[in-house]
């Protein structure tokens, strides 16, 4: 690969990272806290890539020989593999992949990440606002499995997206993914929501209000999932950070 091509690939990677960080879209894939390290990486790649693109057009002679040599020794496979870096760049621009959704949510493994041992006591949830306490899917599930007295008979408001399930006819699984590093290690978190009338379209984000009565339902041979009868459900926009970690 020629040196200016290499520089162009670096600039393309930097550009796509700038784009993802400034639009906030990077949160569809990784933790919010990774934004600053990503930005720093993009600045460094741009700083290395820019001079490579310009130097090439100034001095051609000697460098070309040097590079040809370098490529011959290297073989084409290793010399050109850098172009593969354009695959994630193209993927972001062409497919603009959405955060993980229903396709992987109904594979089972739900709530495995919150049902195991917890390290410490769970702090109480915040004070109620407009008659219900705001909780994330994860906050609710951790308490349902480990400190049920904190959420039983307490009106809660929870945001998640809709994943239908065959055995819930007037309900669905209110879902969010959790991860520890990035979407590649994501596991689904699900609450069985009932009493909804019509089930919203799959992957629609909703904010529901309901009161848990301490009931669990066993879906397939997975873990028991808490059942939340709800009084209201409002469609909402997808949160900036769709993952719940």
């Amino acid at each position: 690969m020629k040196r200016d091509t290499e520089g162009t690939v670096l600039l393309a990677v930097a550009a796509v990272v700038f784009n993802l960080v400034f639009s906030g879209a990077f949160q569809s894939y990784v933790r919010t806290g990774l934004g600053i390290p990503l930005l720093a990486s993009a600045v460094l790649l741009a700083a290395v890539g820019l001079p490579a693109v310009f130097r090439r057009s100034e001095a051609v002679g000697e460098e070309t020989d040097d590079l040809l040599d370098h490529e011959n020794v290297h073989g084409n496979l290793v010399g050109r593999v850098g172009l593969v870096m354009l695959l994630p760049v193209m993927t972001v621009f062409l497919i603009a992949p959405a955060p993980l959704g229903a396709f992987v949510a109904d594979r089972g493994d739900q709530n495995r990440s919150v049902s195991g041992a917890t390290s410490s006591g769970l702090p109480p949830l915040g004070a109620p606002v407009d008659g219900a306490t705001d909780a994330s899917v994860r906050e609710f599930l951790l308490r349902a499995y480990h400190a049920p007295e904190q959420v039983e008979a307490v009106p809660v408001r929870i945001v998640g997206f809709v994943v239908p399930h065959d055995s819930l006819d007037e309900g669905y699984l209110l879902t969010r993914f959790t991860f520890s590093c990035c979407a590649a290690d994501a596991l689904p978190l699900q609450i069985a929501v009932t009493g909804v009338g019509t089930v919203p379209p799959t992957e629609q984000w909703v904010s529901v209000e309901g009161t848990w009565e301490g009931v669990f339902v066993e879906l397939e041979d997975d873990l028991p999932v808490p059942v939340l009868p709800i009084e209201s459900q409002v469609p909402t926009d997808r949160p900036q950070q769709p993952y719940d970690y």
């Binding site: 690969m1 990677v13 354009l86 993927t91 497919i95 992949p97 195991g116």
Partner: protein
């Protein structure tokens, strides 16, 4: 130019497919591994740039013990100092070899750094609350794998590795230029193979390919080792995944954490890039085997 035309043509054909949930999922996982690894990869190639520009063979010789066996042990233990994940350590060890380190020592550093650094140990402690023996077993088993592999490679084709690493040297007219050229070269090489490995790992996750559902002694351990190989999860996160396999025995969970940072799809591809496909084909399977044996040994001892 060709790339721009290609992307327009691709856009025509890819765009209609873009709503396909399987393709979306594959793309999401690919991009997420790529973004998660990027800061660590950039950090790693900056260090390799510094090594190429400023570290002379004399300085390496002064840092590492003269005795080759001692130098492997020292380099493995020095892995504690590099707070990062495996994506950064592969290019660094290539540059260490080029700068004159004994290949066995550089390989020990490459295997140890992502597994025993403070960030990884702390995240392991957080993932396994109150089970300090898991952290100790991980540290011990991973360091043992690194040192054993380093010692094995003291005798095997070291000269070929050195030659290959030297051929990739990027020498500029100034130190700053050498630094820039090395960063550019190593980023594209290690990054390219990182993407190849991530794309494969993402496909396996997307299509939920069953790894192994055997029913024989040790089946769980082998299944967890294979899972670590194909998932290619960053070593800073793998403890949380291991812990989430609540049905697996502690030794099987340990195996997942010892195998993953030492050998997985993306590392295999990156090692093939830096040290050559022939090297990777011999090094990776043996590393996997040693990692499983060490995990079982330390699991039996400590867990």
């Amino acid at each position: 130019m060709a790339a721009i035309f290609a992307s327009i043509v691709l856009g025509r054909f890819v765009a209609p497919l873009a709503d396909d949930p399987a393709l979306q999922t594959w793309a999401t996982i690919l991009v997420s591994i790529f973004l998660q690894a990027l800061p660590f990869l950039v950090g790693g190639v900056v260090i390799s740039g510094v090594i190429a520009a400023f570290v002379t063979p004399e300085r390496i010789a002064r840092l590492l013990p003269k005795n080759r066996v001692a130098s492997v042990c020292a380099a493995g233990t020095a892995g504690v100092l590099l707070p990062g994940c495996e994506c950064g350590s592969v290019p660094i060890s290539g540059r260490l070899v080029a700068a004159g380190a004994v290949p066995g020592a550089a390989l020990a550093f490459m295997l140890a750094a992502p597994a025993i650094n403070p960030i990884v140990l702390v995240s392991t402690a957080v993932a396994f609350p109150g089970r300090f023996e898991m952290v100790a077993a991980r540290f011990g088993a991973s360091l043992a794998v690194a040192v054993i592999m380093g010692l094995l490679w003291l005798r095997r084709d070291p000269q070929a590795l050195v030659d290959r690493a030297r051929r990739q040297s990027q020498v500029g007219t100034s130190r700053l230029e050498t630094f820039g050229l090395t960063v550019q070269h190593d980023f594209l090489q290690a990054g390219g193979f990182l993407v190849v490995g991530s794309a494969a790992a993402a496909a396996i996750q997307t299509f939920d390919i069953p790894i192994l559902e055997g029913d024989f002694p040790g089946a769980q351990i082998i299944a967890m080792a294979l899972l670590a190989f194909v998932l290619s999860i960053c070593s800073e996160a793998d403890a949380f995944i291991a812990a989430s396999f609540v049905d697996a025995s502690p030794t099987a969970q340990l195996t997942f954490m010892v195998v993953g940072p030492a050998v997985d799809l993306k590392l295999f591809a990156m090692q093939a890039g830096v040290f050559g496909p022939g090297f990777a084909a011999r090094f990776a399977p043996l590393t996997g085997l040693v990692a499983i044996v060490m995990a079982v040994a330390f699991g039996w001892w400590l867990l």
